[in-house]
């Protein structure tokens, strides 16, 4: 028989990567969505047209269901011709090297020469503290102790539903080096609104440059955080040393090691 298609373990062409079902470059993707139209053959056809509208070819309606009240749900398989040049993909990564708890404590005592003050808070109306607790509290998560356990860090966990104003207020009170903001609820992009507001307030107060400000949460990526004006963003699976190491290195890199009171005092 003639040999066609892939032969041997040929690696794909990484400059034009396509989705893969069972044949290299078949472009197979699965979709599901609901259309606000009553169920029936026309709805099914509309689902097909929707897939075609998305530039997909050979759409196949695997499943359709009547959701009632004029809504229809579809599961569709189709092919895409879109390619991604994988050799050009660049992902911004949190700068600095990853350090262990002991290394961080040593680093701070040697390079900063004083305890760093870190404030954590779950801001806005968000009350999901499990994530920020995992970073801040002694107990930590996954066997990795939180910032409260660091010798060279004075960690304050302000808890949940902290308004941005209250956070800034606390920054003055504790004379903080860094703010660690957690945002879990993301519906209607409320996290973006919230995070943006904090940066604006900090800038208005002239504090932005004097503080390391980082954000975290399950749907916060480093890139998004940078976009919103943060120094870094930390997603799911973050452990205390990830943040502590970053903050410590930032403080040094940005020359924030010595400075007076935030209120009025000039940084550096």
């Amino acid at each position: 028989m003639a040999i066609i298609g892939r032969t041997g373990a040929t690696p794909p062409d990484l400059t034009r990567v396509r989705p893969y079902g069972d044949t290299l470059d078949d472009g197979a993707v699965q979709l599901s969505f609901t259309l606000p139209v009553p169920f029936g053959d026309e709805a099914r056809e509309a689902a097909r047209l929707m897939a075609i509208g998305m530039g997909l070819t050979e759409p196949s309606i695997y499943h359709g269901a009547d959701l009632g009240e004029g809504y229809s749900f579809f599961i569709v398989y189709a092919r895409t011709a879109v390619t991604v040049d994988f050799t050009k993909v660049v992902v911004p990564k949190v700068e600095g090297r990853r350090m262990t708890k002991t290394e961080i404590d040593t680093f701070i005592s040697e390079q900063v020469g004083r305890k760093l003050v870190l404030l954590g808070a779950c801001t806005g109306t968000d009350a999901h503290t499990v994530g920020i607790d995992a970073i801040m509290n002694l107990k930590g998560i996954a066997g990795e102790k939180g910032l409260e356990s660091y010798h060279e860090i004075e960690a304050h966990n302000l808890g949940s539903q902290v308004s941005n104003e209250a956070l800034i207020e606390a920054a003055y009170r504790y004379n903080a080096d860094a703010l660690l903001v957690s945002q879990i609820v993301t519906q209607k992009d409320v996290h973006k609104t919230n995070l943006t507001e904090l940066i604006e307030l900090l800038e208005a107060e002239g504090l932005r440059d004097k503080l390391v400000v980082v954000a975290g949460g399950p749907r916060i990526g480093h890139e998004l955080a940078l976009e919103l004006g943060y120094d870094a963003g930390f997603g799911p699976g973050t452990l205390a040393p990830d943040v502590a190491g970053f903050v410590a290195q930032q403080v040094v890199a940005r020359g924030l090691t010595t400075r007076g009171s935030l209120r009025g005092g000039k940084s550096g």
Binding site: E69, Y71, V130, Q161, V185, R219
Partner: protein, 532 residues
């Protein structure tokens, strides 16, 4: 339980745990009954028919109560000056409130010249209010009798779009798909508001504001679809947070059928002041009791912050306390949707058996109760396919142990509030499993000395230990010591404490009295020691 116990439970141990819980509840009664709160007083006004907002958007019940509270005169209750003004001015409740809002009347400085007359009027309109609450229960009963009743295991789904009109559309579709109960999730933050927002709302985060108008939109929608599908569709909202009793009143007026109603939840998860919310709860539950509302408690949430494998017994202990507190407010066992959850790490070896043990245990300890069984949330991930299977295993436990209120898991739980079809898929899967494994609980037995039985027995022991500890240290102290949900809450901490007021000897609250009478609470109080 007992002879029929599939877990070979020792009845006397369960009785011991329950006695402890009863003592804990009793130890609170004196404290609670001696106090009122701004929310309780606002509730009275709402039950009298006061509604609406003034031009700054402040709800009229707040306007009135704030006047009285600011004047430091809330210790006798808002109804005394309010009814006095009504009588003196010949105004209806709403008119008095509006006059106050326009600044034409200050109930803080209002002189009560006509106390006897005011009290008599108060008794009268209070009795009407109590009757109105009772009529809601009657109307529900009547509709349920006419339409077919909900499924034995009620399928409960949430809507949480932020827009009440979307919620209505989604709720109706869910009902058509087979849901028995539609719960509208509240926007983040509402529970900390010391007022209830007003009107129909179309914005919210992670949920939709609980307003009376929104209740009405949903009720109308679900009644409409219920007629169409010939099944009564239950409506749920949140009766907790700083406006707990007000929402109970709104729910009674708009015929909500179920309410998440749990002070412990507010304390632990919203940092609401423990005293405030326990007082609020006492009254809110009387309203729910009389309105025939099923309450859901929030113990399931403990397992979102604490480890479900380690902390199972905290759930059971809290359920027993909550049961006794509910009885003190006149709720019946069938009205108790005590919360628990399927929240163990799916990577745990034999975790499924431990979940079974827990669910069966709760079922047996509370045989006549509704039980609200919550799906996996904590260990749900963005892997929606795996999540769909986790939810299926949860549904299987329900088929096996016959929980009353099955809060359907959403495979997208870790990521977004449910999309239209997420709910559809959840219902489809639950129906498949509840039918396909329908008799499993009757056909299969736990090995007498096996893992399931041992686990249940251990949990009972730990529960007794914890309850006896709470009994001896006191509930407020136990909360402060972090005994529940791995969270510490001080008695004097949290939000809303300023709203607590010690009642004067001549405190006037004919509605409460009416409810107590309707619920036969005073008769019952003596016998609480041996409740159930």
């Amino acid at each position: 339980m007992g002879a029929a116990s599939k877990l070979f439970l020792d009845e006397s141990k369960v009785a011991r745990a329950r006695a402890s819980a009863s003592n804990i509840a009793d130890s609170l009664t004196g404290f609670v009954r001696a106090r009122t709160t701004v929310a309780v007083e606002r509730t009275l006004l709402r039950l009298l028919g006061v509604d609406g907002i003034e031009d700054q958007g402040i709800p009229l019940p707040n306007v009135v109560v704030d006047q009285v509270a600011r004047a430091g005169r809330l210790e006798r209750g808002v109804m005394l000056p309010f009814c006095s003004a009504m009588a003196a001015l010949g105004l209806a409740p709403q008119e008095v409130a509006e006059a106050a809002a326009r600044g034409e009347l200050d109930l803080g400085t209002w002189e009560i010249h006509n106390e006897a007359e005011a009290r008599a009027l108060g008794e009268r309109i209070g009795a009407d209010a109590v009757a109105r609450v009772g009529r809601t229960a009657a109307e529900r009963r009547e509709r349920m009798a006419r339409l077919s009743p909900p499924n034995e295991t009620m399928l409960y789904v949430i809507v949480a779009t932020g827009n009440i009109f979307e919620d209505a559309a989604q709720g109706k579709a869910a009902a058509v798909q087979g849901a028995d109960v539609i719960a509208v999730i509240r926007s983040t933050g509402q529970s900390l508001l010391d007022f209830v927002p007003y009107g129909e709302t179309t914005e919210g985060f992670g949920g939709t504001y609980a307003t009376q108008a929104n209740f009405r939109v949903m009720r109308t929608a679900l009644d409409e679809v219920g007629e169409r599908i010939n099944r009564y569709v239950l409506l749920t909202n949140y009766c907790s947070g700083l406006c707990m009793p007000e929402i109970a009143a709104m729910g009674a007026l708009e015929r909500l059928d179920m309410m998440l109603n749990d002070a412990l939840y507010g304390i632990l998860f919203r940092d609401i002041n423990p005293e405030r919310t326990l007082i609020d709860q006492y009254f809110s539950r009387m309203i729910n009791a009389h309105a025939g509302v099923i309450i859901n408690t929030g113990e399931d949430n403990y397992l979102t912050t604490d480890d479900a494998i380690e902390a199972t017994h905290t759930v059971l202990a809290s359920q027993l306390i909550n049961e006794q507190l509910a009885f003190r407010s006149g709720l019946q066992p069938w009205q108790l949707g005590l919360g628990h959850a399927f929240e163990m790490d799916p990577a745990a070896r034999d975790g499924f058996l431990m979940e079974l043990a827990q669910a069966q245990l709760v079922r047996e300890v509370f045989p006549d109760h509704k039980l609200k069984y919550m799906p996996p949330t904590r260990y749900m991930t963005g892997n929606i396919f795996k999540g769909y299977v986790q939810d299926a295993m949860f549904n299987l436990v329900t088929a096996w142990t016959k929980q009353g209120i099955q809060l359907l898991g959403m495979h997208t739980e870790a990521m977004h509030t449910p999309h239209m079809h997420d709910r559809h898929m959840a219902i489809e899967s639950a129906r498949y499993i509840l039918n396909n494994a329908s008799s499993i609980g009757d056909e299969v037995e736990f090995k007498r000395d096996g893992l399931v039985v041992r686990r249940a027995h251990e949990t009972v022991e730990q529960t007794i230990g914890l309850l006896e500890e709470v009994e001896s240290m006191g509930l407020f102290e136990a909360l402060a010591a972090g005994r529940f949900a791995d969270v510490k809450r001080r008695r004097d901490g949290g939000r809303g404490r300023a709203g607590v007021v010690v009642r004067a000897a001549d405190y006037f609250n004919p509605i409460e009295a009416g409810l107590r009478a309707a619920l036969q609470l005073d008769a019952n109080e003596a016998s609480h020691g041996n409740h159930r």
